[in-house]
Symmetry: C2
Subunit: 353 residues, 2 copies
Amino acid sequence: MLEESVNENISCPLPIQHHDKIVLGHGSGGKLTHDLIQRVFFPKLGNRILESGDDSGIIDLDSGVKLAISVDSHVVSPLFFKGGDIGRLAVCGTVNDISMSGATPLYFTAGFILEEGLDHQILTNVIESMEKAAKEAGVLMVAGDTKVVQKGKADGLYITTTGIGIVPDNVNIRGANARPGDVIILSGTIGDHGIAVLEARNELGFTSGIASDVAPLNKLVSEMLAECNELHVLRDPTRGGLATTLNEIARQSNVCILIEENRIPVKPPVMAVCEMLGYEPIYMANEGKLIAIVPEKYAAKLLETMQNNRFGSESVIIGTIIEKPQGKVLLKTQLGTTRVIDMLSGEMLPRIC
Amino acid sequence: MLEESVNENISCPLPIQHHDKIVLGHGSGGKLTHDLIQRVFFPKLGNRILESGDDSGIIDLDSGVKLAISVDSHVVSPLFFKGGDIGRLAVCGTVNDISMSGATPLYFTAGFILEEGLDHQILTNVIESMEKAAKEAGVLMVAGDTKVVQKGKADGLYITTTGIGIVPDNVNIRGANARPGDVIILSGTIGDHGIAVLEARNELGFTSGIASDVAPLNKLVSEMLAECNELHVLRDPTRGGLATTLNEIARQSNVCILIEENRIPVKPPVMAVCEMLGYEPIYMANEGKLIAIVPEKYAAKLLETMQNNRFGSESVIIGTIIEKPQGKVLLKTQLGTTRVIDMLSGEMLPRIC
């Protein structure tokens, strides 16, 4: 029924343009990024681990140890914003990517690309922020590298972090594990990070008061694992926002994801800015939120567990997994209509992380 | 005796300037890089693993598995040069860092920072080169990330790679393990990579014919481990060259390193370019060479093993470890004098890797 009722709303997506040049959208985390990965990276460097499409690659060592490995380059602009900075982002982003496989993040590496002329004090502040975030998350930096490029060949500094974690026995959390009947829980309000960075760029023209949500989610996840041993999917909706992340999962699991707009928490100032600028909150980046997909029978108890953690205090159920149309995400709007929401196309806010 | 005879040649090093701004030299791999690490990174992010000062951090997992983890950001300019490119460099550099702990490199991650406007074909060529190098070394990419920054905020592309390897049981190879009486073996000619990149920048004004030595050394190392179970130190003399690498080891092991200039193999065109430009080959970057420090009784057999590998065919013994002056590197020149050689100070060739 549902499938039929939305069929006319399913827009026929335009074919992705095959650019001769790299455009900002190739770094959006949305359609163009996926296209680049599929066309350029996977044919040459692809393998079963890399192509899983999850936030970290899972490695089975001969010894029986299961490692989770992730990587993220951080190019956020500006370097500092309300609630965080590139250093906190680099540590938390990596901690969260590892956590989304249910693994315990333990170690990380960091490669710094510094621009000639960068103030020492700025670097020191970023390092202090990394220290604080690493302590908060309980992770150790085990390798580092520093390169310097000429003035004008970077923008202050870039940090690439790789995370290393251990997947506990019997944990199998992947984007491909969502099943019809499962419930989708979101750990709090969306769009905060995107708006905080936008404001730090002085692009708003007023003060929204919104701080980035950037935070390490590993303790929240460990509490969730202790409560529920049948978590199907965990994912943090960063670049590309909730809509892109859900689309990834719908495709990986070959299911349909149905969410309800009026259940998705958005802070009023975030909503106000989005309306003013023509953005949709579901495409805005988050850096301290996760979605969990679990069998319905665990949902209520898991929700309670999440709400008891400071980073999940505003957790809510936002939808369910249904069978069809496979690979699609449907949004039941506040007006009662249902529309297909796609991945982010193009680039909304470059260098958001 | 030796100590006294060289005392007058030991220059009193100038105190390192504490710059307010980041300068290119902070990325040289030499004195300024070490200073930055000691003053800014270690006080905040330091720990036993990070501060070992080796090419990779060694992690003892609870399960008894020993991981070797390394990271390197690659910003070489230009992206392509005779004998290699940034892609081959990124894979081989990481494979070699892992190998220098005696570990078997198995996996790597890669974070790409792309400049808006980069030709797709350039990216494709780099990825193809990474594929080839990864196959040659037998390593798999297990996680990747792509960011795009605005035109002028990067220089084509930067790649940060993290390597993951397993340290075999009973292998304990560290920069701190050199002992008086040990012999130093160098796996071939030095300076090739530095000159190849310099030539690709059209800074020579003529064709030297020199190709970069960039190569994965993991198979060479595994053959060395099979031959000798008492390797004390392995290190690849990359940024900062042979002189900087040996200084690091002399400090880590608290010994003196004595090498003989006329034993160090340098290709005639490399020597010619260095003489012309006022460079010393011992400070030039290499990307496919290693030094091994071993008890003398193993040296002859190990040398033979190395010479039988294509990447070690020109291996030679270049010196020995003596007791004093501790933390110093002495070069016996072709004229018979002995001089102290220090780490690279300042920046000779920015963005060499």
